[in-house]
Amino acid sequence: MAVLGILFLLPFVWMLSSSFKPEGDVLTYPIEWIPQTWNAVENYREVWFGRSSFALYYWNSIKVTLLTTFVSTAFSCLAAYAFAKMTFKGRDLLFMLVLLTYMIPPQAIVVPQYLLFSSVGLVDSHLGLILLNSFSAFGTFMLRQFFLSINDSIIESAKIDGAGEFRIFFKIALPLVVPALATYSILRFIWTWNDYQNPLIFLRSEELYTIQIGIYQFADSHGAIYSLMMAAAVSSIIPLLIVFIIGQKQVIDGISLGGVKG
């Protein structure tokens, strides 16, 4: 079983070891799992501060990802609370509408989205990217499940004490779903960090590129230098790995919930 696990991760091990090698040694066979000649410093320096600066792509990705995560979590959370704990006309219908968007493949609506964004000047901007990922049916659905589990009597008694809706939301409901907020934020972070399609279509200027478009630079624009491609790939995966290791339980629970509940 352990052997199978290692075998399963071999592509990643290969990526890591290739990223440390001089270009000429990447494809030698038998594979040098531990590089004979080390070229790590040169490779990573070229990736991070060379012609295509990963430092810049990193900064762009961090900015877009953190803002998207924050905005998306906030919107989903507000809507989820209302759908779970407030009564208003058309509530269930609106919730159904939100759920409908879960099935839509993002590729199928990207053409009209592009036309819309270009008519209001949001193409080639980070704001546009953030907006594209800020309205999540999954987040609303998932957080609603958690709000539903809050006992109504807590909210009722706060109402009797004269607390307003916003006060109840911020002081009572929100603190009770912090673990769920963490789960959703971590998932949204991973998904936004890995988003390739939207930056590919909506970004034009190189100084706005995010990581996923950035890695591609090493595969295409510079004539496919494998060692640099792998160093870029390693660099792009590291933040995910850190987030995943810290929030492992949340990620797995959250995805399970989304998966099981559809």
Partner: protein, 309 residues
């Protein structure tokens, strides 16, 4: 005390008119950002796709040059050999779902027997799922290199002579994509199966053992039927996801060689953003919507018939 009980009952059964009005206002305020955003960024584009699919709009001639052409985009589409090829490829891609599910279930059963290290395995098998598709696609682009790639070098060294051309060959490119999809999806399926396995009462297995059932028999008659709800949901998810494999194919093969890995979502991108045929691309989007409506319908009837809770 009595007063409070009465009050809760009252507000629980018959909300007072005045109070309901107040509820309404703040409820709308809470859902407003989500609803307004979804309407502008998701629903409007869906409607627009249907309208655009009836026009010959392309980004070069602009809106003034657009004409209403009825259903002729769809007529063209169903004579377009690349689109038809893409649909067929997508159907072949669907087979990764049962294969992946079977592998994950077997793995889950094995891992479930280990008391220690369960979490470590979860993390290991989850790695490909959280990693960026672009990075994964690039790794496999090199691993699957037909002449210099480590996979073929290995196959040659252990005595194979006719090694597959992987992503450079029209016959092997789609299987290459499928292998990668299975590899990236196993983690998710495994974790869900592990959760389901933990809910199966141990007595069932013990009873079967008393009756002298083999391990395979127990797997087939106890494990498989009792995890059907998870299997069904993963199946539906897998079907939906197989129509969304854009990133992987775009980076790995860009639909090639000779469109052997092209699928409708990629073709939509190519038509919409490379050929700039907005109307035509929208007609592909409409077909995708219809396919997903059908899958959703299947899910709806399947959930009633097939899942035995």
């Amino acid at each position: 005390m009595k007063a409070t009980i009465d009050q809760t009952n009252e507000s629980g059964n018959k909300p007072k008119k005045r109070k309901k009005g107040k509820h309404n206002a703040s409820g709308y305020l809470f859902v407003a950002p989500m609803m307004i955003g979804s309407i502008i960024i998701i629903f409007y584009p869906i409607v627009a796709s249907f309208v655009l699919s009836l026009t010959d709009w392309n980004l070069i001639t602009g809106f003034d040059g657009a004409n209403f052409i009825g259903l002729s985009n769809f007529v063209t589409l169903f004579q377009d050999s690349i689109f038809l090829r893409g649909l067929r490829n997508n159907l072949i891609l669907l087979t990764v779902v049962p294969i992946g599910l079977y592998l994950s279930l077997v793995l889950a059963v094995i891992i479930n027997k280990y008391v220690f290290g369960k979490d470590a395995f979860k993390v290991i098998y989850f790695m490909p799922y959280i990693s960026s598709t672009v990075a994964v696609a690039l790794i496999f682009r090199v691993l699957f290199h037909p002449s210099d790639g480590p996979i073929n070098q290995f196959l040659l060294s252990v005595g194979f002579e006719n090694v597959p051309g992987w992503i450079a060959s029209t016959t092997w490119s789609l299987p290459s994509v499928m292998i990668i999809i299975i590899w990236t999806q196993i983690g998710l399926q495994l974790v869900l199966y592990l959760a389901a396995l933990q809910n199966i009462p141990q007595e069932l297995y013990e009873a079967a053992e008393v009756d002298g059932a083999s391990a395979f028999y127990k797997f087939r008659k106890i494990t498989v039927p009792l995890v059907t709800p998870v299997t069904f949901l993963l199946l539906i998810q897998g079907l939906v996801n197989s129509f969304k494999v854009f990133d992987l194919i775009k980076v790995l093969t860009d639909g090639g060689p000779a469109n052997s890995t092209n699928i409708p979502v990629l073709y939509l991108y190519q038509q919409g953003f490379e050929e700039l045929r907005t109307g035509y691309a929208s007609s592909i989007a409409v077909i995708l919507f219809l396919i997903l409506v059908i899958i959703t319908y299947l899910q709806w009837i399947g959930q009633k018939k097939w899942v035995n809770y």
